[in-house]
């Protein structure tokens, strides 16, 4: 016989508006084994919690049912109340009558009836709840940060400064990410390299940070506190241990490859560093453009290298890394605007996308900072087209947040570096950050022409050779406007990395429609995810500017710290166990478990479950024909009892 306490919450009016809470409490009192049935305005408030604690002691309750909001909201809160009053925290059931009843109906009859049915089910289930002790495991103190753009760099530094060991994994041959490609940053027009390279350098110098460039994650095992991650170190054909970065090899190399760093605007050598301040400042060889790999001869760089650091038969290697928490900061790509044929990107040489223009401005870029077009001319008239692919049902429905601001920055830089007229085709000028509106006013002051109308088409000018015509509707005058320009800059949508879905699958995250990682809660937990111990920061979660990215990076570092700062960790106790008496050795459980928790004990002839690896999904319990596996807290009889209770009314 159990002594059940039922506590019904009004949640102010949220529940009480469409569920007769006091009637519900009286109904609860009539159910068998219910000793105490009360309703109160705010169960999750301190007086509410104290009421439960007192009733437990006073009435010696051994099961608690809280009928309030979703268990995903306050199950932990009430578990702590039980633990504090000496009752095992798993002897608790939450009945969700807010999100799934009162908020989804206006009919108080319907709401109350459904609440009664749910409560009845909970009472059936509560009777069969068993006390569980959650297990404690040790936590690996290190943290892994994936992606070394400004978000990854910032998070790695914050963590390393607290004394924690950080593994910073970067797919590219240098850290820095897209920010290192920019010349200036809005709104302060700080030189991007000036504020970023010191941080990149402190990453290089920091004793707690292991930098793993040209690396990708290939496999993830384990769970929060004990991740076991396999990193694939791609072959660089240069032994960075020996290389002293004299870069003699890069002068001699005849190989010609398209420079990804300069967005394909210029060629680069086969053995190269992406940009002068690259960290590590040691070259890598690109197989596809190296004449040795292509035709089997050359090896000039090897001859020139005094350190004998060139090694053509280097293979990909795998590094095993253990970590207690992981921060994903994989950043973004710009949408490929070639499919939008109306803008002629890829067809007309005068059409550029934003990152290409960033490289044009950059003094380490292909044109040394001079704004010259692909055919060498300096543009006299430039049009910047906003919202290309963004805010567009047919491409990316989201607003990419930063294009208005960097388009304004472009306008300023064009005005500063050329004598060109600059036109901005925009829908809404979104300048909502600190100092952003002031920056917008400053740009207006610099005589930039703003046309409120989305760019509709870019066509070749029929009469002037090599010039383009931007067609749009100036919605303010309602006139169809054709603006002859030399250069068109597209501000494309920010979209997640092409492989963001594979990384999400590796770390067990879900993504939204576009492929941005899904946070645990959009407002209250934007940096954590549904997977314990995996955190996200920066644009991989959704488009944002550098200040927000840095803030998120610090936040993610703090959240990761909450895990690795403790050396022990309490794990959910709702794992599974095998009742050897009923096990018929069919080994179904061993075959299905995604975590390899069950194993077959040959000597005893039965299966057993390694509870450290078990995550409590219950798959083995449902494939076990003789129901020998008990999925704690969701056992067969608990689920069957709850179903019976739900169907009784």
């Amino acid at each position: 016989m159990s002594r059940i306490g039922v506590f019904v919450c009004h949640c102010g009016l949220n529940i009480a508006k469409t569920v007769r809470v006091s009637e519900l409490a009286q109904f609860a009192a009539t159910l068998p084994d219910v000793v105490v049935a009360k309703d109160y305005k705010f169960m999750c408030s301190t007086p509410g919690q104290e009421m439960i604690a007192n009733d437990i002691k006073q009435h010696k309750l051994d099961r608690i049912i809280v009928t309030a909001c979703s268990p995903l909201m306050h199950e932990q809160t009430f578990r702590k109340v039980l633990a504090a009053s000496g009752l095992n925290q798993y002897l608790l059931t939450i009945v969700n009558i807010r999100e799934q009843v009162s908020w989804v109906t206006h009919d108080i009859e319907e709401g109350t009836a459904k609440a009664k049915a749910l409560l009845n089910g909970a009472v059936y289930r509560a009777r069969l709840l068993a006390p569980l002790t959650s297990r404690v495991i040790d936590v690996n103190p290190d943290v892994m940060v994936i992606g070394a753009g400004i978000a990854g760099i910032q998070a790695a530094l914050e963590l390393a400064n607290t004394g924690k060991k950080v593994y910073l994994v970067e797919k590219n041959s240098t850290i820095g990410g897209h920010m290192a490609q920019f010349d200036k940053t809005f709104p302060t027009l700080d030189c991007s390299a000036c504020i970023l390279t010191p941080k990149m350098d402190s990453i290089l110098q920091h004793k707690n940070i292991t930098m793993l460039t040209s690396c990708e994650v290939s496999e993830v095992k384990g769970f929060v506190g004990n991740f076991d991650i396999t990193i694939r170190q791609k072959a660089r054909y240069v032994d960075h241990g020996k290389c002293n970065a004299c870069l003699a090899c890069t002068e001699k190399c005849p190989g010609k490859g398209v420079s990804e760093w300069d967005e394909g605007l210029v060629k680069r050598k086969a053995i190269y560093i992406p940009f002068p301040q690259a960290v590590p400042q040691k070259p890598v060889i690109d197989r596809d453009s190296c004449t040795f790999f292509k035709k089997g001869k050359c090896r000039l760089c090897e001859k020139v290298c005094e350190q004998k650091a060139i090694d053509f038969d280097q293979q990909d290697t795998f590094i095993q890394v253990k970590a207690g928490a992981v921060i994903l900061a994989t950043g973004y790509d710009l949408m490929d605007t070639k499919p939008l044929i109306q803008y002629g990107y890829g067809k007309y040489p005068g059409v550029y996308n934003a990152l290409e223009v960033e490289r044009l401005f950059n003094s380490a870029g292909p044109t040394g900072g001079k704004v010259t077009m692909r055919d060498g001319r300096e543009p006299q008239a430039i049009a910047v087209l906003h919202c290309i692919g963004s805010r567009d049902k047919n491409n990316s429905e989201h607003c990419s947040r930063v294009c208005c601001m960097y388009s304004l920055k472009f306008a300023h830089l064009f005005k500063e570096k050329t004598s060109a007229d600059v036109y901005q085709f925009y829908i809404d000028m979104r300048a909502a950050g600190k100092g952003y509106e002031e920056f917008y006013n400053r740009i207006i002051g610099e005589d930039v022409k703003f046309i409120r109308g989305k760019g509709a088409r870019v066509a070749q000018s029929p009469d002037e050779e090599g010039r383009l015509i931007v067609e749009a509707e100036d919605t303010i005058t309602g006139k169809f406007i054709k603006v002859p320009v030399d250069m068109v800059v597209l501000s494309p949508a920010m979209v997640p990395r092409a492989d963001s879905r594979d990384i999400a699958r590796l770390f067990n995250l879900s993504t939204d429609k576009q492929g941005f990682f899904m946070e645990r809660h959009p407002k209250l937990a934007p940096l954590s995810t549904m997977s314990e111990g995996i955190f996200i920061a920066g644009v991989c979660q959704s488009p944002k500017d550098i200040p927000d990215t840095v803030a998120q990076a610090n936040g993610a570092a703090a959240e990761a710290l909450t895990i690795v700062v403790k050396d022990k960790m309490e794990l959910e106790a709702t794992t599974a166990m095998v009742n050897p008496a009923s096990c018929c050795a069919c080994q179904n459980c061993v075959r299905v478990c995604p975590y390899g928790a069950p194993f077959f004990n040959e000597s005893k002839g039965v299966s057993e479950i390694n509870e450290a690896l078990c995550k409590g999904c219950g798959l083995c319990a449902s494939v076990c024909p003789s129901s020998a596996i008990i999925a704690r807290h969701f056992t067969n009889d608990q689920v069957l009892a709850e179903m019976e209770g739900l169907m009784e009314f």
């Binding site: 969700n96 879900s510 549904m530 995604p594 969701f634 739900l646």
Partner: protein, 138 residues
């Protein structure tokens, strides 16, 4: 009084249950015939739960899980897809209208899909009328 069906919902905690909560926070309305049991993964659902649900008098059973590839436990729902498909075929061959048992993949961000599915499924069950084949009459 028109026939008000009793529908049992079994929802996976990470996706469909969270989606149901989202339907609540965005104040979408849907009929209240559904009573939801929360399990950690759609793969926790033992086929015998479904047979027992119909025996307990459920007029319809709705199972909700994560989209294939989204499962919090990697492959849970991929096994569940096969097991629940076989359950469906057994129910159908035994004589239960196929419309009474339905499996839907609803992710944590698809609050509106959850509301639509529940509304449409409730209407479908109302048309099929009460289920008294498996039902154990007390």
């Amino acid at each position: 009084m028109s026939f008000e069906p009793k529908i049992l919902g079994i929802a996976c905690n990470w996706c469909t249950y969270t989606g149901a909560d989202l339907a609540g926070t965005t104040r979408l309305e849907y009929p209240q015939n559904l009573r939801v049991v929360r399990v950690m993964c759609s793969s926790r659902i033992n086929p015998s739960f479904i047979f027992r649900a119909f025996q307990l008098g459920a007029d319809g059973v709705l199972v909700g899980g994560c989209h294939p590839g989204d499962c919090h436990y990697n492959t849970g729902n991929l096994y569940a897809r096969r097991r629940l498909a076989v359950t469906r075929k057994i129910l159908e061959f035994a004589g239960i209208e196929p419309g009474r048992f339905r499996v839907e993949w609803i992710s944590a961000s698809e609050g509106n899909k959850f509301a639509e599915v529940v509304t449409e499924f409730t209407r479908q069950i109302k048309n099929l009328g009460p289920q008294n084949k498996f039902k154990i009459s007390q």
